[in-house]
Amino acid sequence: MRKNSSIPPIRVLTGNEALVLGALRARVKVATGYPGTPSSGALASLLKMDLGDDRHVEWSVNEKVAFEIAAGAAWAGQRALCTMKMSGLSVAADAVYSIAYSGVNGGLVIYVADDSGVSAGMCEQDSRLYAAMFDLPMLEPASVAEAYKLTQIAFDLSEQTGSPVFVRLVTSIANAHAPVEIEEPLSPEKREVILERDITKYTKAGSAICMDQHRDLIARLEQAGQVIHEMGLNELQLAPSAGGLGIVASGIAAAYLEEGFEILERNQVFSKQSGKNLVSTLRVVSTHPFPAAEVRALLNHCDTVLVLEELEPHLEKSIYVEAHKIGFEGRIIGKLDGTFSRSGEYGVEQVVRGVSEALGVKETWFFEKNQVSDVAEQLTAARPITVCAGCPHRGTYMAVNQALKKLKFKKDEVMVTGDIGCTILGMNPPFHTVWNEVSMGTSVSLAQGYVHAGIETPVIATIGDSTFFHGGIPGLINAIQHQVPLTLIILDNGWTSMTGMQTNPGTDEAFQPPGSHRVDIAKLIPALGVDQFFIIDPFDLEDSAATIQKCLALSGVKVVLARQECAIQAQRRGLAAGKTKVIPQECTLCKQCVVVTGCPAISLAEDTIVIDHAQCYGCGLCAQVCKFDAIEWEAAK
């Protein structure tokens, strides 16, 4: 990498940015990933940097592919990073399991981001359990600054033990900004590429090989545990006298300890005699492997243990086992005794509640005093999210709805499966088009299940471009092979929009990363053997609705490609689809435009609608539903 002297020593960074800067400092050579909130900011920030020619960074087609590329680089002896959200880890899991068995040569770090408290909408998955299943070490920063440091440690640990290593962040670290002391990034080491032919390491051919690899895997994890122990990564602080309270806190939960202690002191729960000086703490940074030695020391020193960890009682269960082994007779406070929930984020409240419980202070003191009424929130106006002004998906949903109406179907008679990304917004008002959302690509296969279940009405599947590339293609191939009667609508806006406008294989050639080549869905579908293939312009409502209507009457597999660029991206380049103009004298305020399009650029004034031209992209859909010619539309020249 070229020396970038413009990087000052202290910068305000997000956890995502700190993590990749840590990887650059650790001389990472290859970085891959698939966008997914809250992890997207990591690779996105790398792609914005001038990294020179000796590193490779890419958005891959999905997490499994991303991981396999990173693993290939690590097998060849280079340092590699792979980034994903928790759902993506399930996509990559098959490969991760196998690579875990084989081990790696160059350092391989997998960054996975969990979303406890669900800020973005997906499962409240606890990826720590994956680390346990794979027998792979996992490090968990408790702050933005720690994300920077621990990523570097993760690379070293990976190479020391020959094991891929996870770094796990939760949303409130990944997307939080804080000042971090940063050192200069370092160029990748000049390493000879390793070309090693060894089927006992690089294949799973036969029982002997697999069993040996399994034993090696277990040994590597044990070694990782020892290295972590010797580094003192998990901070154990025993109180001067024995018999008190011991707190085990991991990840973000540890970040709230000090603040909780302050509240406990202020409210005299911690008195001068039984203050926080009598509390022992164990800050767990390696959530896997389990820090048994430190936990044993804590159990031997304390008579009550409080476990603070978000989501699953992962550490807590192992603490019970350890307690059983050494005959610990005290209390363990956590989720398994019913004190805390397995759902939601942890904050200062859990520290206060847990310590109060441990000290036998009626814990309601804090919460009664701080009782907050729900009335304010009940008065809030619901703000269901909808597609942006100018979004081409609006036209597609309107066309589906119109086609169904023309065929005299009621809304709840025709299954329209949905998928991940912006396209799912078709579930919300005013469209109510899409019924479900499962995982990347599911819409295409789920629809086939509905067909085989014996549904007699037509079945429609909807999916976005990036999601189609990611996981939709196998489902479509399956439908073609088995000739399942369904209509697949691919809403192709050319970008991976929901996660912040990343490129994908279908992005226009002009915006592909240097040296990359576009894969055109319009060429792909016929090549798969789909004869009934139609391309529509979602801004042309009449034609789009007619095409979909026609498809619903045909048998076999039909694919409709609804194609218009994401309006946000087009607007950023100063483009518009057209121009709208309201003719106030003609407007009867029938509100049809608002009811059908739900466009955020339209609002109501005294006796006419108004269009906010700062938002309007000129898609003209409102003009197409107006029955009174109150909206004029002119195509862009």
Binding site: V12, N175, A178, V348, A376, T380, P600, S603
Partner: protein, 202 residues
């Protein structure tokens, strides 16, 4: 000094820019800071919130209920979501913009009145500072950016002025938008400036 700020509004109002500017100003003053924004999925029109924690070396990003020294709300209905976070005696700055969801526009759903919001803030013990959108100063005939105006108001009239240096913040506003420097200077100074007639209350 430890100081927590809770920000709410709607995507497109520049709520997160306020957070960004405060973070940058704090970092320049070497005040430890954590800024944790959450935006909805939509680019515009979705609920946005952010938590700012100043003065803590090692801080969890979330602010406990009744923990915020200052709330800055940029939209009337969204303001209600911040009520549970205001500390008794804390400053609650409300810019009373109304961004009506479609259902409200169509008359199918209710939208909270200013009085309702005021009542909730007062019940929670918050000190209400109301800024009417119609008082937003004009520059060359058009209203200035509300977020810069509101940031100025928070710096001029709430406890935030004891934490952050006003001129440092003013410099940051200047540096941020090279193009609209004069317009933003006007917005910031108008916010900062003394009370004037009308619905602006401090």
């Amino acid at each position: 000094m430890k100081y927590d700020i809770y920000l709410v509004g709607v995507g497109g109002q520049g709520v997160l820019t306020i957070g960004d500017l405060i973070t940058e100003a704090a970092a320049r003053q070497r005040i430890p800071v954590s800024f944790y924004p959450t935006k909805g999925m939509a680019q515009r029109g979705g609920a946005v919130k952010a938590r700012l924690r100043l003065g803590r070396e090692f801080a969890g990003p979330n602010i406990p209920e009744r923990g915020a020294d200052l709330v800055i709300a940029m939209e009337r209905s969204e303001a209600l979501k911040a009520v549970r976070f205001i500390k008794p005696g804390g400053d609650f700055v409300l810019f009373g913009h109304v961004w009506a969801p479609t259902a409200v526009m169509l008359g199918k759903e209710d939208y909270p009145t200013l009085e309702q919001v005021r009542e909730q803030v007062q019940e929670a013990g918050g000190k209400m500072h109301y800024l009417a959108p119609k008082d937003l100063p004009l520059y060359e005939g058009g209203p200035v950016a509300a977020n810069v105006y509101v940031l100025g108001a928070a710096l001029g009239h709430t406890s935030l002025k004891e934490i952050l240096d006003q001129s440092e913040a003013a410099n940051l506003v200047q540096a941020r938008w090279a193009k609209g420097a004069e317009r933003n200077e006007l917005a910031f100074q108008a916010g900062l400036g003394p009370m004037f007639e009308g619905e602006r209350e401090f």
